[in-house]
């Protein structure tokens, strides 16, 4: 009887999922409600979790309820701590969810709402969730080893080296593009800039409160910091309207870029980051609150999507980034569908907290589903905007023109009506001077979020507050990613160069700290500066580069996972990681090839360089742009080479294992029976 009712329940879920997905996919002509996307996503996740992840857990990975995890065997109260599954789930989700699932889907909405939505759902269920789940489990079975260590031990030395280079590449490109998003969100915005500047004294105050007055009361301190940030947002409105103060906080894009580069260096090289650490908590607090608020807002207000399922830009002529759906939609949306970066978290802190091996399914697969849902919400936030407004915000001046009337006319000629007056009114409503050419995704997301909330909570009167709340949330979070990422990059360079010259490896030796901090900041600062000076807005070049680097890391993770599954003697089940691997290789190679050699100058770096070289007498600026293009092409080529190397080494190993020339041997920790199973039974 129970089986019948359960079967019936899943039949209803499947039917609802099929109905909502077909509505989302086949609806034409009329606008649809965002709840169809939400329902389609929820049913897809439910089915994916119930059936596909269960299949992987039972047949492929053979999760063992009797096997002790490293959290139990190596428990030390510091790194290895057996933790309740929901607590690990929340911790893991907070670590994997960043600005990526919010920005990528907003940018990909230039194709319409459908391509991004389908990729987020399919990519997560068959790719991202699987990657996070299997890497987490394999790390748990290896005492919480990192991806680099697993790549070196299971694939080979080359695999470990490629994983290391992939991580460094992704950190550098990520930090450059993340900083560019902040610059584009804050340029010529005294309100936004004031709010973000104020987070520094707020963090110092929080630090004092946390250390001296209420030691260890982080949640309480974060609530206090949050209240102060809300006051800073309100104060920002006053500052932006003050003729005396507004100019102090009205910064150009290059000035903001320099400030962020100096900030990144200071946070890495000077002991100030200890003082700024409370801001990390504040950004996490705001992030979780905002995601929860957005979810509530969408469900409560059920907004209508104004973006069509497909736009004319599926042909590759998009103004935000050039290139057709395949492969560019699949590298634009990484976090939310499949993100290689997650494999670092799944083989970092999380495996050291897992109490029971069977809980890796809920934490690894489940947390990625939650992040995928965040990406769906970001798609909704972008698509509730009128398409004309969406394109006016996200299109660079190099494509639509600098003059508002010209930009509005260009966008209207694409079939997405928008007027300069309408955009002026919108900018005024959100407390900005202009909303044209605000590339990067963050401002469009903020306007979308403000639009959703202002339809009920506070109405138009609070639209500016909601907009600046969203901008503050994204900028704050990205800046904490920036200072944390710079430090991680610095440590990685110190570790690597320490093999060449020992003193460089000493993390407390100041010349080494200054040199390696300078190196990592110079690397991402170069990409940031390039983006700021790019007439096409920078996102067109840098976001695909970030996507390629991120998917390269996912390729490394899936190569490691496939290798281990084959070595486990489960060759026929290796398709669960092999299929997403093949897909990612196809995507990464095609995208890399286009970015390097496509004859369209808006897509190919080299053809763009040729176009610049053949134009009027090249000045200093043009020579620099040509150099940037060629360097981007070389970076893309190196990423492609890295994918090839890890693939060749993995394929060579698979062939040897399958032909019997090498033993089926995995390097797992020895089996120890868990005490938790007995305790639960007792």
């Amino acid at each position: 009887m129970k089986n019948i009712s359960q079967g019936l329940l899943w039949l209803i879920v499947a039917t609802a999922g099929a109905l909502s997905l077909s509505t989302v996919a086949l609806h034409r002509g009329e606008q649809i409600n965002a709840m169809w996307l939400v329902l389609a996503a929820l049913c897809t996740y439910a089915l994916g979790y119930r059936f596909y992840s269960k299949f992987i857990a039972a047949k492929v990975l053979a999760l063992d309820a009797q096997r002790a995890t490293p959290a139990e065997r190596l428990e030390n109260g510091r790194d290895f701590v057996p933790t309740h599954k929901w607590v690990v789930f929340g911790h893991h989700f907070a670590a994997i969810a960043g600005p990526g699932p919010l920005v990528g889907p907003v940018l990909a909405a230039q194709f319409g709402y459908l391509p991004g939505t389908l990729w987020i759902l399919v990519g997560a269920i068959f790719g991202g969730c699987v990657q996070d789940f299997v890497i987490l489990l394999f790390s748990v079975r290896r005492d919480g080893k990192s991806l680099t260590e697993m790549a070196r031990e299971e694939v080979g030395r080359l695999g470990g080296f490629v994983a290391y280079l992939a991580i460094i590449s992704i950190i550098v490109v990520l930090l450059g593009v993340a900083a560019l998003i902040v610059v584009n969100a804050l340029k010529a915005s005294p309100w936004g800039t004031f709010t973000i500047v104020m987070t520094i004294p707020i963090a110092l105050l929080m630090g004092f409160y946390l250390r001296r007055l209420r030691p260890g009361k982080v949640l309480e301190t974060s609530v206090l910091g949050f209240v102060l940030v809300l006051l800073a947002i309100l104060g920002g409105q006053w500052v932006s309207q003050s003729p005396a103060l507004a100019p102090w906080f009205t910064w150009s894009a290059p000035a903001l870029a320099v400030a962020i580069i100096v900030y990144g260096f200071a946070a890495s090289a000077l002991p100030v980051w200890l003082l700024l650490a409370p801001r990390d908590y504040l950004s996490t607090f705001v992030k979780l609150g905002t995601i929860g608020l957005l979810a509530l807002g969408i469900v409560a207000l059920r907004p209508t999507l104004h973006m069509p399922p497909f736009t004319r830009f599926i042909d590759g002529s998009g103004p935000i980034f050039a290139g057709s759906i395949f492969p560019f939609a699949f590298i634009t949306i990484a976090c939310g569908a499949i993100s290689g970066f997650h494999s670092l978290i799944s083989s970092g802190t999380t495996p050291k907290m897992i109490r029971r091996e069977i809980e890796t399914r809920m934490v690894g697969y489940g947390a990625m589903m939650a992040e995928s849902m965040v990406a769906i919400m970001a798609t909704i936030a972008a698509c509730v905007l009128q398409p004309g407004i969406y394109f006016a915000i996200n299109s660079p001046s190099g494509i639509v023109g600098k003059v508002p009337e010209v930009a509005a006319a260009t966008i209207s000629s694409w079939g997405f009506p928008v007027s300069a007056d309408g955009m002026r009114a919108l900018a005024q409503a959100v407390g900005e001077q202009t909303l044209f050419n605000r590339t990067g995704g963050a401002p469009a997301f903020a306007v979308g979020m403000a639009h959703i909330f202002s339809t009920s909570l506070g109405g138009q009167a609070l639209m500016a507050i909601w907009y600046h709340f969203a901008i503050m949330f994204e900028a704050l979070f990205i800046l904490t990613v920036l200072d944390a990422g710079t430090r991680v990059g610095r440590f990685m360079i110190q570790d690597a160069l320490g093999h060449v010259w020992k003193p460089i490896g000493r993390t407390s030796w100041y010349p080494s700290i200054l040199a390696t901090s300078g190196l990592i900041v110079a690397a991402w600062g170069f990409f940031l500066w390039q983006g700021v000076k790019d007439p096409l807005g920078g996102i067109n070049s840098l976001w695909p580069l970030f996507g390629i680097a991120n998917q390269l890391l996912a390729t490394v993770a899936l190569c490691v996972a496939t290798t281990i599954i084959i070595k486990m003697g489960k060759v026929r089940f290796s398709v669960v990681t092999l299929v997403p691997l093949v897909w990612l290789v196809a995507v990464t190679f095609t995208a890399s090839w286009h970015k390097m050699f496509d004859p369209n100058p808006r897509i190919g770096f080299l053809s763009h360089a040729r176009q610049l070289a053949s134009s009027a007498a090249p000045g200093h600026e043009t020579v620099r742009l040509i150099f940037n293009d060629r360097l981007d092409a070389i970076v893309t080529g190196i990423l492609m080479l890295l994918v090839t190397l890890i693939l060749l080494e993995s394929a060579w190993l698979w062939t040897r294992v399958l032909s019997g020339r090498r033993e089926f041997e995995v390097k797992e920790s020895p089996f120890v029976t868990t005490r938790f199973a007995v305790e639960e039974q007792g």
Partner: protein
């Protein structure tokens, strides 16, 4: 009612873990210290060394 209480307890535990309050409590238990500015400074010193090497996801 019991189930709701349990859910609230778990949600609070999740927040305490995310915001390192649980890590501080474990530190106090491990080092047999009582909470104080000195104990918290010692915790941060030990904790930040490990935390600063952890990447933050995009």
């Amino acid at each position: 009612m019991r189930r709701i209480e349990r859910m609230i307890e778990i949600a609070a535990a999740v927040l305490r873990e995310i915001f390192d309050e649980s890590a501080y409590q474990r530190f106090l238990g491990r080092t047999r210290m009582v909470s104080s500015p000195q104990a918290y400074a010692a915790f941060r010193q030990e904790y930040e060394a490990a935390k600063s090497r952890r990447p933050r996801c995009c």
